[in-house]
């Protein structure tokens, strides 16, 4: 009773209560509904507050890296970052015409290459493009060494002969600060890049000699009719004189460095990989290639990923299948034996489960190799001749045996947990109704054990499809998985984009399986030990 109702007669209180049509109130006077909602909100916030640190941790240390990998599988900044001017000019070049690009491209490429070579970025770009066209790597390396010594100093000499003030960097800075910058866009942009480069190197641009390539761009733009009339005397003089200049063909200079520059295929590759986003890595990872005409299959002798994906799927299926075959009888036995015996036998399942993966893999190496335990025993028993020892390692057989052993506990445990819930009386009932042993098993017991098989199979399959260590050690050449190829691209060939694309495809496959697992079993039902 609250204070307001105290002292009333029951009749009055009843009437007051009838008249009271407002919301029900909590002890502190707020409406009960609101108060409950607030309590619920506080509870939710507290739960989220407890989860938040871990969620943030997992997002930063795990989800973001995976997202980063996905991005990397399509990201292709290196060409546009290293050769910015070339990419811009090359966009207009018609790759189908099988003609070499025009002078503007050679001009831009000369400037880009000079900066790339000074920053030692040309080798990285070369190895990037080498994934798409072999030989490009050495092409860039050779050219990088030569680009500083091109014969473009003829322009420098001739311009300086016209007016010695061209040698003064300050005059360039003053000129390109004014209206000349609009008239000479390439020269102005190149000057900006030159300034930036000097800042990076810690040099003062005004104390450095004006480089040859700036004179070259100036000559090029003046020669192409840049409108610099009346801006300054020396520009007018230069413009009047350039027509008579002794010239140097940049195309020939590059061809001198390496004649492959005259191959339009090289330029097609550069143009094809200029965009910042590319489907090239994905095309590669399904044995296709990006061509100017679109995505085309690779020649037969270069197709490896299709084979690898198929092999990975096939071997994972075989491993899952053999795990089912081996786990089913064991799980059945464990769930039908008395508790004490079952627990003892369970140790034999759990011990391998808890033993280090490397230990089990090395054990299989010891067992399977030519001078290994199994071969020794067979030879000792006289079943196999000493000079005809079985080859059981460094092939598919080795991988399948070792991985079946390693993944078997992951099959037995879910099967066991399902089978131990099947009442044995069902089988007895079926038999007493006249079923044969086989019918009773196949029509009564087996259908009830299917969820266990499903759970175990998906678990084993997901684990098998991404396995790396065991195939690497016992797989040799024919028993390796797609994951070994990913590791190869990460650590040996350094083709990280391709590794990311292969990883992305694998991840999609696994996520689809995981989704199926969630539908069939539910992630909350994952149990350990």
């Amino acid at each position: 009773m609250t204070d307001s109702t105290a002292g009333m007669t029951p009749e009055e209180a009843r009437r007051a209560d009838e008249a009271h049509t407002g919301p029900m109130l909590a002890a502190d006077g707020t409406p009960l509904k609101k108060s409950l909602a607030r309590a619920l909100r506080r509870q939710k916030l507290r739960a989220l507050g407890l989860i938040a640190p871990l969620l943030v941790f997992v997002l930063i240390t795990f989800v973001v890296p995976i997202g980063d990998m996905l991005l990397r599988s399509i990201k292709n900044d290196i060409v546009a970052d290293t050769l910015p001017a070339t990419v811009e000019t090359l966009a207009d070049w018609d790759a189908d015409a099988s003609e070499l690009p025009g002078d503007d491209v050679w001009m831009a490429f000369y400037v880009d290459m000079w900066f790339a070579a000074e920053r030692k970025e040309h080798t990285r770009l070369g190895s990037r493009l080498n994934y798409e066209q072999t030989g490009v790597s050495s092409l860039f390396r050779k050219t990088g060494r030569r680009v500083d010594r091109f014969d473009t100093d003829v322009y420098t000499d001739q311009l300086v002969d016209l007016d010695p003030s061209w040698e003064d960097p300050a005059s360039w800075a003053a000129m390109l600060d004014g209206p000349a910058a609009d008239a000479l866009p390439l020269t102005a942009e190149t000057w900006e890049r030159w300034k930036e480069f000097n800042v990076e190197e810690g040099d003062a641009v005004l104390e450095e000699d004006v480089p040859d390539f700036l004179f070259t761009t100036l000559y090029y733009e003046l020669n192409n009719g840049a409108e610099v009339d009346g801006m300054s005397d020396r520009l007018d003089a230069a413009k009047a004189a350039v027509g008579e200049f002794e010239t140097v063909s940049l195309q020939e200079q590059f061809a001198d460095a390496d004649e492959d520059w005259l191959d339009p295929e090289v330029w097609k590759t550069i143009q094809l990989y200029s965009p910042r986003v590319t489907s090239g890595y994905f095309a590669n990872s399904v044995d296709m290639q990006l061509t100017p005409e679109g995505i085309e299959p690779r020649p037969d002798n270069q197709q490896i990923y299709g084979i690898l994906f198929k092999r990975t799927l096939f071997m994972s299926l075989v491993i899952t299948g053999s795990c089912i075959m081996l786990a089913y009888p064991v799980a059945w036995l464990l769930s039908n034996l008395p508790m004490r015996t079952a627990n003892l036998l369970m140790i034999l399942v759990l011990l391998p489960f808890w033993t280090s993966l490397l230990v089990r893999t090395s054990a299989w190496k010891v067992m399977l190799q030519q001078q290994g335990v199994i071969n020794d025993v067979l030879v000792w028993l006289g079943l196999v001749a000493d000079d005809a020892r079985l080859t059981m390692i460094n092939n598919q057989f080795g991988t399948i045996v070792a991985m079946t052993h390693i993944l078997l506990p992951f099959m037995i445990l879910p099967m066991y947990s399902v089978m131990s819930t099947i009442p044995p009386s069902y089988l007895r009932a079926a038999k007493s109704l006249g079923a044969t042993n086989w019918t009773a098993f196949w029509r009564v017991y087996f259908p009830q054990s299917v969820p266990g098989i499903g759970a175990g199979s998906i678990l084993v399959f997901i684990l098998a499809i991404g396995y790396y260590i065991t195939p690497e050690i016992v797989g040799g050449n024919t028993g390796t998985f797609i994951s070994n190829r990913i590791a190869y691209h990460i650590s040996s060939s350094l083709n990280w984009g391709l590794a990311a694309a292969l990883g992305t495809i694998l991840l999609v496959v696994v996520l689809v399986l995981y989704w199926a697992y969630d539908k069939i079993v539910g992630i909350d039902n994952v149990k350990l030990g």
Binding site: T61, I66, A363
Partner: protein, 406 residues
Amino acid sequence: MSEELVIKTGRPDMMSFTLPVVAGLGLILGFLTGNVIGSPWIGLVLGTLIGAGLAYGLNEMVPKKSIGRWGVIIAFAVIGLLFGGLGGAVGGAIIGAIISWFAYWIGRGTYRDDVPIYSTPGQTLWWNFFLFICGAIFIFLITPILVVLPLSFNAEDFFTFTPEMLRLDPEGYSLKHYRDFFETDDWQLALKNSLVIAPIATIISVSLGTLAAIGLSQSHVPGRRAIMAVLISPMIVPLIISATGMFFFYSTLGNFLEGTLGMSKGLVGYIKVILAHAVLGIPFVIITVTATLVGFDRSLTRAAANMGADPVTTFFRVQMPLILPGVISGGLFAFITSFDEVVVVLFVGSAAQKTLPWQMFIGLREQISPTILAVATILVVISIALLTTVELLRRRSERLRGMSPG
């Protein structure tokens, strides 16, 4: 089947069943033994005769099973000793044990004990065949681990059993690979790294994971399924993909820590590996702790609050002791995940963060040395210890929650 229902079916017929079956096993064992010496056919005939003789002799003349079995084992061991030294004696004892057990098992009808009385001979055969298959699978599961143990005491630098080892000659055994493990800098660095990285990663995943599991077990959590999926994902995504993603991202992170925050290269290396391992261990902590919390009686916390305890006190004095077994076994899973992990550390770490599995992996791929087997043996011993701990904790947890230990 309860005791009073067992009906003694009597012994199978000696001449038509016991004698031929045991002689058959003798034939196989004799053939194999003879093959070792080089005269399989003599072994075959002798084995058959001995098998038949034992079947008759043991079942008809030696009613006391233990005397019969030990007699045969000792006799076979002595014969083995005469022909093949100490190793031969062990082999002989094993063969003797097998054949004498088989002779009694067949001769006394013990093989029918586990099948119902109405089973046909075919069903009995199938049941015993099934047991035999299961036994073979258990052997398949455990043999690789058992083979590693003796080989780690090999005196030679081989991965195989030497003749000295087979003769049980003490010369063939030594502790040199263990000495190698404890004296080589490479292995010691790896051991040290493993012992630094795994515990710190475990502490991070257990503390964050337990808090989150408690949060997840509240009754109203918005987006529970989505959050759960994110938290479990490190376990679902194949390691090679996690490692690839981490390889890219953690090198950027490492550059940031080194460049902007000015940390030393070694420290950054450890931070990267520890963070990566911590996140890999989190799903195991979440799963085990949420499973423990399912059985947690919520009225206990309300009772504590009712008696005036603040939430922190309630957590440490009431909730924590009850869910501790789950937390510890989650922690053990997280520990073993980190301790056993090699792909991510290969991708994320540098040589200075080399862990034990990394060193073993390198060893298996390049210089094959039985030191790996010595390490493997030590790891097996550790995993047996962990397995025992988890099992004891599980029983304790069930006892605390009033369930009968299963």
